[in-house]
């Protein structure tokens, strides 16, 4: 353990810790939005499977409806990429 009270903080250490924070932020952005997309797709997906069982013709349409919440995680991914690069 580094004792930040006494140990001297070098510039490299600060930069490294900032880089780590960025990585954590990027990870959170993708991870949390991924969970959100999953929750949103859960309901749509189950309804979509039910609808397809009733009428196969709607398959294309419901497949599309199912991927609509994917936008959330894509925004998360974009934020993460902008954080990292």
């Amino acid at each position: 353990m580094v004792d930040f009270g006494t140990a001297e903080l070098t510039l490299e250490m600060i930069q490294a810790s900032q880089l780590g924070m960025k990585a954590i932020g990027a990870g959170l952005a993708v991870g949390l939005t991924g969970i959100a997309s999953g929750i949103a797709e859960m309901a749509i997906g189950s309804a979509a499977v039910g609808a397809t069982a009733e009428n196969r013709d709607v398959f294309g349409l419901v497949l599309l409806l199912t991927v609509i919440p994917e936008t959330i995680v894509i925004f998360g991914l974009v934020v993460a990429l902008l954080l990292l690069f």
């Binding site: 497949l63 599309l64 609509i68 994917e70 936008t71 991914l77 902008l82 690069f85």
Partner: protein, 647 residues
Amino acid sequence: MLRPERMRRLLIAAPQGEIDTIIGELYRHNVYHIEDFVPESESAEALSIGHPLPGASDVASALNDVRAIESACGINPDSVEVKEKLPASKVSEMIRTDLPAILEEVKGLVATRSRLEARQKEREQRAKELEPFAAVPLDLDLYHGYTRFTVFTGHIARDVSVDVPHEKYFSDRVDGNMIVVVVQNEYREQVERTLLDAGFQAIPVPEGTGSPVDNQKVHLAEVQSASTEIAEVNREIARIRERHTDFLVACDELLTADVERAQAPLRFATTEETFITEGWVPDDRADRIRQALEKATNGRIYIEELEIDDAARVPVEYENPTVASPTQVLMDLYARPRYSELDPTLMVAFVFPIFFGLILGDVGYGAILLALSLGLRKFLKGDEGRMLLKVLSYASISSIVFGILYSEFFGFALPWDAMIYSRHLNIGTEVHGHGPQVVELMLLVIWIGILHITLGRILGMINARKLYHGKHATKALIANAGWLGTMWGILILIWSLFPMPMMPDLTGFPVAIAVGVVVLVAGVIGIAQENPLELVELPTIISHVLSYARLMAVGLSSVAIAMVINFIAIGLLIQPQLEAITPVGVILIIFGVLVLFMGHALNTALGLLGGGLHSLRLHYVEFFTKFYKGGGIKYNPFGMKSKFTEE
């Protein structure tokens, strides 16, 4: 191009005597979309729905027979390859002479088979019932016929001790254990309680005499012989399929056509002496069918071209250049265009592959998908499947082209630097060029989004004129212009406040802010004049444009997965072992190769799904919502393209 095929509305009236000729002629030309006659209360009283042609029920029952044989033999006409076309006259002759015999034979075989299957099931059941008794060394006739004794037989959780005079057999060799207890009648209740406490479940004693093991053997032998006979029957059926498939599918086609023809009058309006039908014919073929009908009936027919009063009733047929026609399958997936609106198939045909390539720009994956789409063509018989494969092959060619531009091959770099923006991430130890140009790529796809949405709104303005009439059309047109103005107003404001790479820098011009505000406010007013409630949708302007970021994001994630697979397989597993080969190392190398193959197979599937679905979604959700209504009736001409028969 850019609009559905023009249609003409024809009204045909003729005496009942000509109905056969006219139906035959219409069917042969395969261009007339019948509008079903629906009797309404206000229609002339003398008009009623027609009756099927004489002989309709015979043809229908013959068709039923053919379908029954096909299903018994497992023939699916859709997946039968055409070897040679049989002449229709020969087929109808054979329907009279050969079909009854084949039907008899197949019926007999199917009946035999179901009888054998029933016997097999029954014997199997018997053998199964005997199984617990085979574990007890008693003959079956020893279980019954007593007056002073009670016999308990059944499954039990554990062996029990019975404290009255008794005879007992227990076996744990069968599932759920087996117990047989014989006691005098007066102890019956006491013993029953003891047994039930140990979880006793009575099972009835099977009928028969002699040892259960022998009985079981007899039944199993029967099962065996039944399944041999079933196999024999199946071979027989397969032989029939082999010999008669061509004939049966030809029968199916011919009879289906006969049935459709015979039932056509059900869609006509008739009086005692005449019949009337209304329908649609493509513009360029209308004159030909008119002349053909007049010639066939020697002029005993009245044909009138009616005006199209309600565009919503016109059946819609696409009219696209060959290169764009496979994309129609993507349009049908959403909704067929209405007769009066723009048909965007051509635009989708060009933009969809570009989006796909932008997302999955990799020479390796593109080549795999191209090979897949070409290879599967042999196996997919349906029209829709083939069109989908064609779309996929265009998309994968675009993927290869973008792969060359991005310089990517299964996540590795090709010998040159990326010609457009690089997507090479710094995963593993290899670093190529200047790393990924995420910001540039992002701005590029945002530009694509802005232009795509602008195009959508302009098409919306054009469509407003085509779809609506009078005041509503003007309002819809202004609303579309309003949405366009709001978007560009926001853009001008952003550009005049913040300098951005790859975008116009307007920070030096204070007048730009004013222009932006004016355009924005005018746009909002334009939206509100159609329906003020639409204003809640204003944030979608930003979210729809940003949504195009998926073109970059999904693509980068696919590149990242590819690079991670390469790093794990080659960097971590294979390369370190190659320096000094050991037995463990060889296993690790094999494992690495496995990871490499499995990983890239998975990423190909993900890339296909991601690239395809997201490109499609951008069209359906972001592009089509700006202008496209859809919901046209499919043009479905009366007639059939004969596949197995010829006149």
